[in-house]
Symmetry: C2
Subunit: 212 residues, 2 copies
């Protein structure tokens, strides 16, 4: 087994995203490079490199002389991001292999149904949702598009921990996932794409109230 050999900046990036998901940082907090580097046990150089990539993804923002900070959240930006991923995922679905979609459709349906039953932790809910969407788009051959979606979604993770608690809105999401899967089973790709867009728009509405 070859041991993991990736640049430190990537490992640091991943670790920071993990901590972001855990809610360790709140939006607007500015980052002390020296302190964070010490905490991670690395030097400032690869840390800064990680911060720069995160800034490129919209997770952080940087100001000359003032360093990096977690980009503040706003309803406006959240709306913007949802509109973007909705369009991108719809495109990804459009350019997916129909054979793949037909094949995974039953599994997508099963996963969605399973999930509407049991109530889970927030972290699990999000992981499940991500995995579901990944499976849905697994048949898309546009690699750049998939990368882009991943990147934009990274920028959205600042919002995910705001939704905390309450499982009710999730039932709606599960329903919508079922709907998408059903369209796919019926072979209606256009309908599925449209339902997918709705899923994002509705998801947006659901979260919107919790954002300042």
């Amino acid at each position: 087994m070859p041991i993991e050999r990736r640049p430190l900046r990537e490992q640091i990036r991943d670790e920071l995203m993990l901590r972001l998901d855990r809610g360790d940082f709140s939006a607007g907090t500015d980052i002390n490079e020296a302190a964070l580097a010490a905490e991670l046990g690395v030097s400032r150089t690869p840390l800064r490199e990680a911060l720069i990539t995160l800034a490129g993804e919209g997770v952080l923002e940087s100001n000359q002389g003032r360093g990096f900070r977690f980009a503040p959240v706003s309803r406006k930006e959240f709306r913007e991001l949802c509109a973007i991923v909705a369009a991108l995922e719809a495109l990804a679905l459009d350019s997916s292999d129909p054979v793949y979609l037909e094949r995974v459709a039953p599994e997508l349906l099963k996963l969605a149904q399973e999930f509407s039953d049991n109530i889970a932790e927030r972290q699990d809910i999000e992981r499940h949702d991500d995995e579901w969407h990944d499976l849905l788009l697994g048949g898309c051959s546009n690699e750049r598009l998939l990368d882009l979606i991943t990147s934009v979604k990274a920028g959205m993770r600042r919002y995910s921990h705001l939704v905390a608690g309450e499982s009710t809105p999730m039932e709606r999401a599960a329903e919508e996932h079922c709907r998408i899967a059903e369209y796919l089973i019926a072979g209606d790709l256009e309908g599925a794409a449209s339902a997918l867009r709705d899923n994002w728009v509705n998801g947006m509405e659901r979260m919107m109230s919790r954002i300042p």
Copy 2:
């Protein structure tokens, strides 16, 4: 007048993109950090920071221990990128202020017509095309979307200097721009978005033959 105070990494990024447009680097070339830093008169640190952002935009790619290099071009990737910007610009047009569009539509038409007349240098053609699209999308309030479009287009610049010479395909592009503007003047936003998508798809077809 406040003098320009931007991080060095951004200036370096801009300079590198400029040189890319000039065709100084060909795709696949790997970058020697020390040499390039010396040539630019900066240290490796901000240079690497610039390289990392460019890698994030897909202009460069990096391999552990092997540094950065200009990402190789391929028809597949070019198709992918065109599909992405087509979708993103269509979305931007959808979420644009109709009042703005109505106001700039005549100007867009005039610019497109003017340009179909005089033959220009490649650099000028591209600049004109970029400016035309910028004006078109100037009424979009989704800032993240505009940033994203800029970023994806940066990744496409590797392809732009491949098109070199030949002005004939440009006449077609000008025609298409006219068409879009006419839809806007008629107030048919849906038609304009559709024509915009066509513009990208056709533009892709036009260039495709010159890519290895």
